[in-house]
Symmetry: none
Subunit: 496 residues, 2 copies
C-alpha cells in the first residue's frame, strides 16, 4: 500500500480529529476539575469554537469519496476493521443535518440549564415544557438515523452508545430480569435484616481520603505515568488514553462513597490506558461501547472492589488512613456489609448493585416508548410512579425531583444511553465467571498482586479496542455472547 492510499489519507485525517478531541478532553477536564467559576464564559466560547471545528473536520467533503475508494483497496484485517469504524463515525456525523444539530445543542443547553433550578423546585410543569422541545428534536434525529440504519427510532439512538444492540435483543433480557429481580431484592433484604452494620462516622480528612484513593489505585494497577486523580462535583473518567484523568468527590463524614468511586473510575481508566497505543488516533482504537466501558468499571467496583477479599486487603490501608477514628467499622466483614447493603430507594446513582437494574429498566422502557412515539412527555410521571412501585415498591408520586427529574441524561437528549449501565453489569459478571474458571480470583486478590486479572482483561478486552464487534469480543473472551444468567448467578451467590 502506498502512503497516498485513500486509507492512509483517512487515517491522517482522523488523527487530526483525534488531536482536536484531545484538546477538548483536557480543557473539558480542566473546566470540571480546575477552572474557577469566573473562567466559565470564555471557556465555554472556546469549547464551542472547538466543537464547530471538530464537526467541520468530521464532515469534510472529501471523506465520503475517500471511504468509497478505501473500500476497494487491498486492506489488512485490522485496516478493514478500522475502515468500518471510520465509516460508522462518518455516518454518525453526516446523517444529521447541521441545523438540527445546532437546534438540539441550543434546546439541550436551555433544558439542562433550567433543570438545575427546576429540579430543586420540583417544577415538573416548567421542566416538561423544555423537555418537549428536546424530545421533539431527538425524535427527528432518531427518525433520520433510523431510516439510514433501517431500524426503529429508539434502536437508532441506542446504537450510538451500544453498536449492534437492538430492542429485539434487549427486551427479552430485561423481561427476564424483571421476572426475578423484585423477589431477589426482597430475599436479600430479608437475609440482611439481622446484620449489625456499623456505618462510618467521624471526621475523614480529604487529604487522608486522597492518599487512600491513590494507594487503592496503585493496588489496581493505575499507571500514574499516564494519568491523575483529582476532584470534581460529578466524578468522571476523562482526559485521553495516554493521560487519563479520573475524578472523585470527598465527603468528610463518610469515606466509603469516594473510595468505591475511585475504584469504579480506575476500572474505566485502566481500559483507556490498556487500549492499543498504535491505534489511539483512529475510531477503531477507541473503547468498544459504553456498555463494555461500564463493564470494566463495574468489574473493578462490583466484582473486585466490593468482594470480601479486596476489602480485607484494603482494611490495613483504611486503618492507617484514619488512625484517629473509631476502629469498629474497619473490619472486613463490616466493610463488606456496608458495601453490599440492599435498600430500594429513589435515586439511581446512589442505588446498590441489586436494585440498580430496576432503575435502568424503567428508564429504558420510558425512553424507548417516548422515542418510538408510543407515549408523550406528559405521560412520564405516572409511568414512573407505577414502575417504581412495581419494581422497587417505592412511592414517587408527585416527587419529581427524586423521580423522573433526577437524571441529567434526558435534559440534553441523551436517549438510549441508560441500558449501557446494566449491560455493563452483565458483561462484568460474565467476564468474571470466565476469569474464575481460569484462576483462583479470591487467592489472587488476597495476595495483593492482582496482575493476573488485569492481564486477562488486557488480553481479552482492552487490547482489542473496537477491532471486534461487541458480540465477537464477548464470545472470544468468554465462549458465548451476552448471557445474563451470569449476572443473576452473581447476585444470587452474593446476596442469597
Amino acid at each position: 500500500m502506498t502512503t497516498n492510499s485513500a486509507y492512509e489519507q483517512l487515517s491522517k485525517h482522523f488523527k487530526k480529529i483525534h488531536n482536536l478531541h484531545h484538546l477538548s478532553s483536557i480543557c473539558g477536564w480542566d473546566q470540571a476539575a480546575m477552572m474557577p467559576a469566573g473562567g466559565n464564559e470564555a471557556r465555554s466560547e472556546a469549547m464551542a469554537e472547538l466543537a464547530v471545528m471538530i464537526h467541520q473536520q468530521s464532515t469534510a467533503p472529501q471523506l465520503a469519496g475517500l471511504i468509497n475508494q478505501a473500500q476497494a483497496e487491498n486492506l489488512s484485517t485490522e485496516q478493514q476493521a478500522s475502515l468500518a469504524e471510520i465509516d460508522r463515525s462518518w455516518q454518525q456525523a453526516n446523517v444529521v443535518p447541521e441545523d438540527l444539530v445546532s437546534a438540539q445543542s441550543l434546546a439541550g443547553s436551555k433544558c439542562e440549564h433550567a433543570w438545575r433550578t427546576q429540579r430543586k423546585e420540583n417544577d415538573w410543569a416548567g421542566f416538561a415544557k423544555n423537555l418537549k422541545t428536546v424530545v421533539e428534536l431527538s425524535r427527528e434525529e432518531a427518525s433520520i438515523r433510523g431510516q439510514a440504519n433501517n431500524c426503529s427510532n429508539y434502536d437508532a439512538l441506542m446504537d450510538l452508545y451500544e453498536p449492534g444492540m437492538t430492542s429485539a435483543q434487549l427486551d427479552p433480557i430485561f423481561d427476564d430480569v424483571k421476572s426475578w429481580l423484585p423477589e431477589l431484592t426482597l430475599a436479600a433484604q430479608e437475609k440482611q435484616r439481622s446484620d449489625h452494620v456499623i456505618m462510618p462516622t467521624g471526621h475523614f480528612p480529604i487529604a487522608a481520603q486522597q492518599q487512600l484513593g491513590l494507594k487503592t489505585m496503585q493496588i489496581l494497577g493505575f499507571d500514574f505515568n499516564h494519568g491523575r486523580l483529582d476532584v470534581s462535583t460529578h466524578p468522571f473518567c476523562g482526559g485521553v488514553a495516554s493521560d487519563v484523568r479520573i475524578t472523585t468527590r470527598y465527603d468528610e463524614d463518610d469515606f466509603t462513597q469516594s473510595l468505591m468511586g475511585v475504584v469504579h473510575e480506575t476500572g474505566h481508566a485502566r481500559y483507556e490506558q490498556g487500549l492499543p497505543k498504535a491505534l489511539n488516533h483512529l475510531p477503531v482504537g477507541q473503547a468498544r461501547s459504553m456498555g463494555i466501558h461500564e463493564s470494566q468499571s463495574l468489574l473493578f467496583e462490583m466484582q473486585l472492589g466490593r468482594s470480601q477479599e479486596f476489602l480485607t486487603l484494603l482494611t490495613p490501608e483504611i486503618q492507617k488512613a484514619f488512625s484517629g477514628t473509631d476502629k469498629a467499622i474497619y473490619n472486613p466483614l463490616n466493610l463488606s456489609q456496608c458495601y453490599t447493603r440492599v435498600k430500594p430507594d429513589f435515586i439511581r446513582v446512589d442505588a446498590d448493585e441489586v436494585t440498580y437494574p430496576a432503575h435502568v429498566m424503567l428508564r429504558y422502557e420510558i425512553e424507548q416508548a417516548l422515542m418510538n412515539g408510543d407515549i408523550e412527555v406528559d405521560d412520564i410521571p405516572e409511568l414512573w410512579a407505577v414502575k417504581m412501585q412495581q419494581y422497587l415498591g417505592v412511592d414517587t408520586k408527585g416527587n419529581y425531583r427524586n423521580g423522573c427529574m433526577q437524571d441529567v441524561h434526558w435534559t440534553d437528549g441523551s436517549f438510549g444511553y441508560f441500558p449501557s449501565y446494566t449491560l455493563g453489569a452483565m458483561y462484568a459478571a460474565q467476564f468474571m465467571t470466565t476469569i474464575k474458571q481460569e484462576m483462583d480470583v479470591p487467592a489472587i486478590i488476597t495476595s495483593g498482586d492482582l496482575s493476573p486479572i488485569f492481564t486477562w482483561l488486557k488480553t481479552n478486552i482492552w487490547q482489542h479496542a473496537s477491532l471486534l464487534s461487541t458480540n465477537d469480543l464477548v464470545k472470544q473472551a468468554t465462549g458465548e455472547v451476552l448471557n445474563p444468567a451470569h449476572f443473576k448467578a452473581h447476585l444470587q451467590a452474593r446476596y442469597l
Copy 2:
C-alpha cells in the same frame, strides 16, 4: 458602521483565533503544571496540530484584503489602534511558512521535555543535540522575519516580545549599565559585609508555604474567581485573562524564594486580570509587551515586595505560617536583609536585584550572536563561562546545569526574550518614581490596603492594553519615555 464592515469581520475572525489561543494556553499550562510525563508525546502532537490551525487562521487568505478595506473605513481611535495591532499580528504570522511553525512546535516540545531530565543530569551533549535543531529553526524564522522587517535576525525576534525595540537602542543602554554595575555590585557587597543576616533554616512544609502564598496574593489583590496558584518546575504566569494560572515551586528548606516568586507572578497576573474585558479577544486587548509585563511583576516584587514596609506587613503572616520554627529570622529588618542580599551567583532566577541585569546582558549577547550567525551552539558553554567571570566573577566551567542549561527560554526557541526582564526592571523603577510623586507609598503599604497603587497601575498601564505604543504608554504614565536613570537611582538608594 454596519455589522458587515471589514473591521467587524476582522474582529470576528480574531475572536476565533483568540478562542484557539485560549485552548492552547490552558493545555500548555496543564502540560507544565498537571500532566504526567507519559502524556507528553500525544499532548505535543495535539498542541502542534493546534499551532498549525492557529497559524492557518492567522494567515487566512481573506485577511490581507479585509485589513486593506478596514484601513479605508471610518474607524474610532480605539478601532484604529485595534486595526494597527491586527495588522502587526497579521504581518508576524504571515511571513513564516506553515511547515516551519509546525517543525518549531515539535522541536521545542521535544527539547523542553528532555531538558527537564538533562538539566538534572548536567547532560550538555544530550541537550545540545536538541538545541541545535531548535536554533536552526529559529534562525530560519529570524532570517525570514528580518528580511520582512528590514532588520537584523536578532532584532526581528526581539520585536516579537518588545515591539519597536532594536539592538541599536538597547546596546548603548546595556553598555551604560555594564559601565557602573560591577562597581555598584562590589560597593553593595562591601556595605552589607557587616550585616548579621539570619537565613531561614528549618522545615517549611509545602502546605504552609502554599497558604502563605495564597494570603500574600490576597493582599496583592489577586482575583481568585479568575485564576489559580499551582506548582511547576519553572514558575510562570499562564492561562487566559479571565482565568490566570500562576505557578511557583516549593523548597521545604527555604520559604523565601517561593514567597517572592508568588509576589512576582501575581504582578503578571494582575496585569492580565486588569486588561479591558471588552478587548480580550483582540490583539489590541493584549499586554503591550513582555517588558511592560515584566515591569508589573518587578514592580510587585522589587518595588513593593522587597520593601521594608511590605515585609513588615507580611511578618505576622509568616510567623503564623511557620509557628514551629526558629523565630529569629522573622523580623522585618532581617527579612529585608535576606531579600536584598547582594551575592553574585550562578542562577538568574535566584539572582538578587543588583546582579540580575548581568545575567540578562550575558544572555542577550549570546543569543544575539547566535541568531545573527556569529557563534554556534557548541560555542555557548565557553562564552558563558567567560562572561560570567567577567560580569560577576563566578566560575561556571563544566557546570552546565547551573550555567547555560538553567533557563527554559532557549529550549523552545524563545530567543529575543531575555532583554525584556531588564527593560521591565527599568520601567518598574520609572513607574514607581512617578507613583511616589503622587502618593505616600510607604504609608499605603503599611496600612495593608494597597489599592491606591493598584488603581494607579490599572489607570495608567493595565486598562490601556496595547491601545498605545510602549513609548506613548510610558510617556503618558510618567511624562517621559524609557529613562534608565530611575533604575540606577533605585539601586543606589537601596544598596549604597
